[in-house]
Structure formats: C-alpha cells, structure tokens
C-alpha cells in the first residue's frame, strides 16, 4: 500500500517533470527588428545591427533568457517606410513579442500598429520625445535619452562648465522634424537661465554650412555651440567650426554627431576636444563588450571586427540588452507563454539595470518609458572617445512638463 502510494507519487512527479521539461527547454522566444545596411543611414546600420545580434548571441551562449533561447530576426529595410511596414508585419506574423524599430519615419509609421497589436516596440535614439509618456504610448519605448533629455543634459553640462546669465549659446540643428525636436527645451532653458540663444538651421542634406558658421563665430560670437546634426552634417560642422577658429571643447553634440565615423570624416586631428553625448557607454574595456569578444568571437575562433566596441556598435548592444531584459522580466514575472503585453510589463519593471556600468542606471516605469533620460559626455582625445563626466541629466522638470503638455493635446 505504502509502496504503491510512493510509486504513484514518484510516477506522477516523473510525468510532470517529463511533460514540463520539454515545454520549458524547447521554448524559443522570438523577437525581431529592422536594420538599415544599405539605406540613408547605412553608416550607422552596419555597426548598430551586429551589436544587437552579438548581444543576443551572447545571451544564448550563456543559456538564454532563464533557460529559453532568444531568436532574433533582423530584416533589412533600407530606411524605406513601406519595407519597414512589411518587415513589421512579417515579424508579427512570425510571433515576435517585441520589436526594435529602426529609423525615425519608420518609427512614426509603425507607432499606431504597435498600439493596435499590443506588441511593444523599442526605439532607442529614433523615437519621438513625447512617447516618453507611457500612459499615452503604452507600447512605445524610447529606452534612451530622447532629444529633449539630450538638450537638457547638454545645457546642464554647459552650466556645470560655468555658463551664466548672458552666456551666448548657438544651437545648430538639422532642419527636419527630428532635428528641430530639441528646440523647445533649448529655448525654455535659455529663458530660465538668461542665456542669449540663437538658432541656426542647417537645411538637408547638411553638407554646406559656411554661412551659419561665420554667423556663429563672427557675428554672434557664441561661447558654446550645441549641435544636433545627422549624417554627414556633424563632420562638416566640425571642420567648418575648426576652420573658423572655434574651440572644439566648447562644441557639444547630440548623440548622432558623436560616433567614430563622424570624427573620421572630419579628421581626428581636427576633432580633438570635441564633446559628444552618449546614451550607452562605449569602448572595448567594458565588461559586457569584453564578454562578447571572448564568447561570441574568440571562443568561436572568429576574428574580432574593427567596429566592436565602437559608439554605434555599443548602441546596438544596448538595443539587444533592453530586449533581452524586457523578455527576461516578462518570463520571470508572468511565466510562459511570453506575450507582447507581458513584455511591455517586463519593460516597465526594469529597475536600476546598468549591465555592469555599460548603461545608465535605467529605471523604466509605466509613466517613464525613457528610463530616466541619462547621457554621458564623451570627448575626442587621440583617436577615441573618452568619458569626461558620469551619467548626467538636467532640467528634468522642464522636459517632463513638455512631455505632459505634448500629450495633453
């Protein structure tokens, strides 16, 4: 009797384990994203996309997300809206529980679809600043300092360097929606601090800015330049300002003017002292990058490409890290199967996630989908970007007030 009961119990446990084990072990969690290796921003794409896939490879090498394999599908869209829509629909059909949206116009176009389909989309570096507000945009996650936060942090840095009432600040920006986005914060802060502010628009494609630079250096005689440029424009701005004799260590650039490629195009000698913001740390000395180099490349006997550890590559690692962390929290809190809505809740419960110093101390809540809006100032020294501050942010009240106001409409 006793033995029979024990046997039954043992059998039941064995059966339960046998049934549960394959279900647990063989579960593959699908995430996806788009990439741009041939389109308008291919210079960024060829480094940012491998960053993401390498990080996912690292996660899988270490046993996946709580034992489940992450399957990441990358779809090339060439920075075209229709291909981006197609890519999203394909990922959705294949069961992706979260996606990375790549490219400002594509992010805009896919936002309503994310809201309809209840699949969260992360948009680090591309998304619109007002989608920070998670109550209005529950399925959109900027997950990195938006242009508003970047403007706030840049001006905070300038203030920490001794700017006071009457300091002349020139804001040079790319004349498209993404480029103009920082203006409201810059204006609000300049008014609050009593800076003299002038705005200088650079029309696309932004390869000609002689007149603006002469205006900045000769007529306006700016003390600081805050640059928000894309593509080839940052390199041109560095060259032109240098030629006009403007000190590079008083030129602060938003994140898309702060890659190695931007300085390479202008010349490393020219760019010495130039300051750029980063929303992820960069360089090969970081623990997570070291781990990727060891486990994804050396262990496989592969040669480490030159771009590993570069600025854009690091941003790709950030994309991968956030996707993996969101999925991990979804599995941990809600178990299987993973759904888009659970991953959203997973993202919203990210707390002090910094990936061994690689990321700012990110805390995402259902109100704040930006993760705090931290950036770090880097400066060009020699042939690399060197951090000169810790993670900083500034004028958070102004930024959050603007977010609130933008979503009230």
């Amino acid at each position: 009797m006793k033995i029979k009961g024990l046997l039954t119990a043992g059998f039941a446990v064995a059966l339960a384990v046998a049934l549960a084990a394959p279900a647990m072990a063989s579960h593959v969690i699908k995430v996806g994203g788009q990439c741009d290796r041939t389109g308008a921003t291919k210079v960024v794409g060829v480094e940012i996309c491998p960053g993401l896939t390498d990080y996912i490879a690292l996660v899988n090498k270490k046993g996946g997300v709580l034992g489940h394999k992450l399957e990441y599908t990358e779809i090339e869209h060439g920075y075209l809206v229709d291909r981006g829509v197609e890519a999203y629909e394909r990922l959705k059909r294949d069961g992706a529980v979260a996606t990375l949206d790549y490219g400002t116009p594509i992010v805009y176009a896919l936002t309503p679809r994310h809201m309809d389909d209840k699949i969260p989309g992360i948009t680090p570096g591309f998304g619109r600043a007002d989608s920070t507000d998670g109550t209005s945009w529950p399925y959109i996650f900027p997950m990195a300092a938006t242009y508003w936060s970047q403007a706030g942090a840049g001006l905070q840095f300038i203030k920490d360097q001794g700017a006071k009432k009457g300091t002349k600040i020139a804001h040079i920006y790319y004349d498209n929606p993404a480029g103009r986005e920082g203006i409201p914060i810059v204006e609000a802060v300049a008014k609050k601090e009593g800076y003299q502010l002038r705005l200088f628009a650079v029309p696309p494609p932004g390869v000609e800015m002689g007149p603006q630079v002469i205006d900045i250096t000769r007529r306006f005689k700016a003390d600081w330049v805050l640059g928000h440029l894309f593509g080839q424009a940052p390199a041109v701005s560095i060259k032109e300002l240098k030629r006009a004799g403007f000190p590079m260590n008083r030129f602060v650039s938003f994140v898309w003017g702060a890659g190695e490629t931007n300085i390479e195009a202008a010349g490393w000698d020219t760019g010495q002292g130039y300051i750029g913001m980063q929303y992820s740390s960069t360089g090969r000395s970081l623990p997570v990058i070291k781990e990727i180099m060891q486990r994804v490349y050396r262990d496989e006997g592969k040669e480490i490409p030159k771009f590993v550890g570069s600025v854009y590559y690091s941003r790709g690692v950030l994309n991968g890290a956030i996707l993996a962390e969101g999925v991990r929290l979804a599995v941990q809190n809600f178990g299987l199967p993973v759904t888009g809505d659970n991953v959203r809740k997973g993202f919203e419960s990210i707390k002090n996630f910094d990936l061994q110093g690689f990321l700012p101390p990110m805390t995402v809540t259902s109100q704040d989908h930006e993760g705090g809006g931290w950036v770090r100032m880097y400066q060009v020294k020699g042939t690399e970007w060197v951090p000169i501050t810790d993670w900083i942010r500034g004028y958070r009240d102004e930024v959050m007030a603007l977010v609130k106001q933008a979503n009230k409409k």
Binding site: G78, D82, E86, R128, I183
Partner: protein, 355 residues
C-alpha cells in the same frame, strides 16, 4: 488577358465601345476581380500587407502614368502631390472629423489644385526643363509643409489620425485595410482605363505626340496640360490620403524626392502610356526587393552561410541584383512589362495555328 476575337461580332455601338468588348476578356477580368476579393481567405496578414503596399503604389503609379506616359509631361514632383493629399486627409479627419471616404476625395481635390498650379510651367517648357521645374515643386511643397505648423501639426510634422471606420467597422488590421484600399484601386484603374480612351485621353495623347500639331487640330493645350496635371495629382492625392489612413499617420518623410523617383521608375519599367503597365511596374518595384530578401537569404542558407556573418554582403548583393534586374528588363523590352505581356498575348492569340 489572353483573348481571341474570333467569332465575336458587335452589333451595337455600346458593345463596340465597351471597356472589354470580348466576352472572354470580360470573364477573365471578372475572374481577376473575384480572385482579388477572395485573396484574404488564403493569405496571412504579412502577405496582405504586401498586397496593400502594391495596391497603394499602383494608384500612385497610374496617376503618374497619365501625366508622364499619356500626356508626355515629365514630373519629378509626384511625391510632393502625394504629400499634399496625405496632409489634407489628416487635417480634414483630425480637425473636421470627416470619415476616410470623404477624406480621400478631399485629399485628391486639394492635391489636384496644387498639382495644376505647379503644372503651369509646362505651358512654356518641355522635357528635362519641365522635370527640373517640377523638382522645384517637390522641394517647395516639402519645405512649406515642413515649416507651417498649421499644416504639419508642429515641429515633428506628424499628424496621427484615428482608426478609420466604415459603417461602424474599425479598419484596424491588414485584412480590413485591404478592403479599404482595394475598391479605391479598382475604381482608380477603371476610371483611368476609360479616361485614356475618351476624348480627353485622346487629347492627352495628341499633346504627348506633338503639341504643336495638337494645337493646330484644335486641342486646347493650356486646358489639357493643366488638366493632365490636375488628374495625375488627384490620383497622387488619393494615394497619399490612403497612405495616411493605412498607416494612421501623415508624415512628410514618406513622400520625398526618392518617392517621386521610384514612382517614375515604376511607370518606366511597367510601360509608359499604359494603365495596366503602371500596375505591373508598381508590383515589380514594391515586391522585388522583398522577394529578393527571401531569395538571397535562402540561397545563402543553401550554401551554408549564416545570415549574421554576411549580412552586409547580402544587403548589398540584393541592391546589385535589384539594379541588375531593372537594367535587364529594360534591355529585353524597353517598352516595359506591359509590352512583354502584350508579346505573350500576341503569341497565344493564334496559337497553336500561328504562322
């Protein structure tokens, strides 16, 4: 369709003037429409999104072909006219609360007005010079929309529109969006087919073939050139408005110069001066890059390559193949896919008794 006129005798003027005078053509066209209507039963949502993108591109391409292919006025401003339609639709929906089926003609009408205005230079200049004048139109419209908050809705130049509804039916997935786009595309196609064989269409063709001669035989050049711009821009505006409702957002970055150029590519590959050719071209340019994704990646996997390892190479290889195929098709048949289709039809017209 492959039709044989053998044994068909028209006894009425109506029969002779019908869009498809042959019974077989009528049946086959009807069959195509039925197949199109039944597609959602067999395709998944991803395939439906492809169908939608092709239909959207077809509407715009038909419009551009009326202007470039039939009237002979080269335009590089088609994207801008789509942009006008797109923002008009967004504004009338958001500000006035109009439903999408009123927003569509509104977008078309405003785009037609703007298009006719930017068509005025065509009265004095032709060919490449006109292309540059319309290029200016592209940049002017883009700049104005981008810098007028009243039109563009703020610094982001982006207007979200609510989910379009039809008789209480929320158009919120790819299947439903298909039934929003398909009827418009069919109406656009039939209207264009009829337009080009009407008095107006013949006047367009006369202007294209030699405008001086057309003027001498009594075609009012001023009238018909501007009309061509207006009709073409109406199509563009409708397409742009549909894009707005399809994406639920109006954003000028979908309709830049690159869009204008890709629509020109569609009608050149499809066949200038052919409505069906515009559709072929739209399908070709929309579908080919996406099909190549599967073909090239599948091919690489067949040879044992991992996607991640050679992603950059594959991305560029696809572009090379895409460009190569365009050149190949144009080299085989400079008059486009429509002409190829015509060749096939001609071959089977007397088959198997061809001489």
């Amino acid at each position: 369709m492959i039709n044989r006129e053998c044994g068909v005798y028209q006894t009425t003027y109506e029969g002779d003037m019908a869009l498809y005078p042959l019974p077989l053509a009528r049946y086959s066209t009807l069959a195509v429409v039925v197949v199109l209507a039944l597609l959602p039963l067999v395709l998944d949502s991803h395939m439906m999104s492809l169908a939608n993108l092709m239909l959207l591109a077809s509407i715009g391409a038909i419009g551009l072909n009326i202007l470039v292919g039939y009237t002979g006025q080269v335009s590089l401003g088609h994207g801008a006219f789509m942009m006008v339609g797109s923002y008009t639709a967004a504004l009338v929906t958001v500000r006035l609360g109009l439903p999408f089926w009123l927003g569509l003609p509104a977008g078309g009408a405003v785009a037609a007005l703007v298009g006719a205005f930017f068509g005025i230079p065509s009265l004095r200049i032709k060919g490449l010079y006109l292309a540059i004048a319309t290029l200016a139109g592209q940049f002017i419209i883009e700049w104005v929309i981008n810098h007028s908050p009243w039109i563009s809705g703020g610094v982001q130049s982006t207007i979200y529109v609510p989910t379009p509804t039809f008789l209480g039916w929320n158009i919120n997935n790819e299947y439903r969006r298909y039934f929003m786009v398909l009827p418009v595309a069919i109406v656009a196609y039939v209207a264009a087919m009829n337009l080009v064989r009407s008095r107006v269409g013949r006047a367009f063709i006369a202007v294209r073939d030699r405008d001086v001669a057309a003027e001498i035989i009594g075609v009012d050049i001023f009238h018909y050139k501007l009309l061509a711009f207006a009709v073409s821009s109406f199509y563009a505006g409708m397409a742009g408005a549909l894009w707005t409702y399809y994406l639920k957002i109006a954003n000028y970055e979908h309709f830049t110069l690159a869009t204008s150029v890709s629509y020109l590519a569609m009608i050149i590959i499809g066949g200038l001066g052919s409505v069906l050719g515009s559709v072929f071209g739209a399908v070709f340019i929309t579908l080919l890059p996406i099909v190549l994704v599967y073909v090239v990646e599948g091919g690489a996997a067949l040879f044992g390559f991992k996607y991640a390892a050679i992603a950059d190479f594959l991305a560029n290889l696809r572009l090379i193949i895409f460009g190569g195929l365009i050149i190949l098709f144009l080299a085989i048949e400079p008059e486009g896919l429509f002409r190829m289709w015509g060749n096939v039809k001609r071959y089977f017209r007397l088959w198997p008794y061809s001489y």
